[in-house]
Symmetry: C2
Subunit: 398 residues, 2 copies
Amino acid sequence: MQVNADRFLSDLHALRQFGAAGQGKGVIRPAFSEADIAARLWLAERMKDAGLVPQFDPVGSLFGLAEGQSLLMGSHSDTQPEGGWLDGALGVIAALEIARASAEAGGPAVSVVSFQDEEGRFGVTTGSTIWSGGLALERADELQDREGTSFAEARASMAHLAQGFVDPKRFSGFIECHIEQGPWLDEAGEAVAVVTDIVGIRDMRITFEGEQNHAGTTPMHRRRDAFQALSAFNTRINQRLRNVVTPQTVWTIGHVALHPDAHSIVPGRATFSMQWRDGDRDRLKRMESIIRDTAAEVAEELSMGLSYSQMLGLDPVLMDPHFQTALSGAAEAAAPGRWRQMQSGALHDAANVARLMPAAMLFVPSINGISHAYEEDTDERDLVTGLEVLAGAVARIG
Amino acid sequence: MQVNADRFLSDLHALRQFGAAGQGKGVIRPAFSEADIAARLWLAERMKDAGLVPQFDPVGSLFGLAEGQSLLMGSHSDTQPEGGWLDGALGVIAALEIARASAEAGGPAVSVVSFQDEEGRFGVTTGSTIWSGGLALERADELQDREGTSFAEARASMAHLAQGFVDPKRFSGFIECHIEQGPWLDEAGEAVAVVTDIVGIRDMRITFEGEQNHAGTTPMHRRRDAFQALSAFNTRINQRLRNVVTPQTVWTIGHVALHPDAHSIVPGRATFSMQWRDGDRDRLKRMESIIRDTAAEVAEELSMGLSYSQMLGLDPVLMDPHFQTALSGAAEAAAPGRWRQMQSGALHDAANVARLMPAAMLFVPSINGISHAYEEDTDERDLVTGLEVLAGAVARIG
């Protein structure tokens, strides 16, 4: 199979014109926006040109179907509200080129997909979650974006394009190419990474409830200051988690809400997000115990009420070993000594599709580790190397 | 001079009907609300009944003027959005009763005031700040409340009542009675406190600017997490300030804003309030040095940008020694052994009026130290004791 690098890069640049931000190569193409729908209609035309049959499903995911049983490849073409040009778009256009090249070479049948709302305007990897049975359509329809638009309303804007859901049984497996969104490949000067697994995630909100009081007349020793509880919790959790984690483990307090959030009032309530990610279910569980024990200890010491939101989570997902072997062999052939195996710390559609069929992922470098930003970029030589690795893997899978 | 406790308590309960919250004795009477204006019109009638001449100034402060040179007494009748029934209202009604009782007894002439917007819908002690020359009316008119209403618009709602500003020269001094808003008197079972000074306040916002990044793919050692900088700053500032403060010194982080404030994003920016109060200007200054040095040290260590808002401040204000002596003598007569001298950790109108004339304050207990809440209350015996101390002090001042 001979991929056409110029055709691939040309399509990739054509796609970024839909929703071009006018800043660098940045793109503004959130799920169901005019730019997103226009981009998908353009993609459907490219699929037809490649001899595939385009089919929009009821949630706006676009498939380009090869005849009979086929390998599915792709990712997503929606972006963050302020996104980069590659992200998932790379995986969609790479899949399109592999489908074309394989058909031209008389190779294995390859279908293409661009899932809808991977970026989570309405949830997390919404389109592939629904398709893989992780979320019922009726429940998804109730999800709302930040402006209060429901998923039902949003997908109605594509109703004129919708056909039925595509039967997953027609696919023998799934391969997704994506930018790394982290610094490792770029730092090491490597061209690609074969993903071993997608980490699991746990996420909840924790609330300390103290006593709201006057910031002038309440002496320090009489305060039950909820921000102080949050700060003490953060200090201790940093110390304690370091004893159980690996260098890949991460944890984040990204959201904080104080009440009443005023300069002159000792805050009576602090609600904050606690999120942690790791590739090992047992470690995620141990971290949860430490987090809950530490919060309880701080609450006890500082006389705080303590409550938790529901804990959300996705378990770690292993990538298919057979596909990993094919990708690794192709990587060594295309970029000898310049590739690695790595874990994905970010969620991807492949984590959902893995419920249905063997799934695997290939990463290309992100310059300076930047993603979800206008500055996101990858050297075009690395993009082409990634494409060649995909082609080699498909040939090996056969 | 013989005060009438029943008349005093009856007026105090009548005032709380304006804006009654329907929860306990709570009151909702923010500056310029319908309830606030109605309460002031009712007060103006009570002033007339007491032989005083009511005069609204252009910002809605209501004076009840005795003839000739007089002592001014009072506080404010506006409340927090969810306030208690006493707070400043106590000082206004106590002043009214002293004016009546003194007139009946042929004692010293006493005028009464209820300043507007002490609670700071538009600023801090807005009415008395303008009256005392701390803020030009033209600049005050540009202040906005949280909903974007300007001070100019708000005071226009009272324009039909407004006369000129009252000349401060007609007053020989100012005495304000207020609830303590803290726990000390209630805990000690004491009846009143003579205020020695009103602490100074310093207030600013500090911003740490790190690097916004993906909470899944950015390893811990590569992060420049602005929340971690805030937490580190808080821990160190707590340790370091303890070396220079007194038991009366307070400092507070009451407001925190993370950016972008999302569970899955390492926060790139943390802006927070830092406020500190103390009775000593030099100590306020030393604290400022420690705060700025510590913030700079954290920013340096964690590779953060660092910026500050303008620092706002009011210097500590000493209460008039002669008035303090009169209040102390009257306190010992009315409640022997059950009073103390104390500092005010909260701001009051008296801090502004002290620019213009000798000023002093008397505190009565707050049950459980609660204020600015529906639950705020004081034993009525303590209210009457406070009234008697004021009467005794006025008689001593002569």
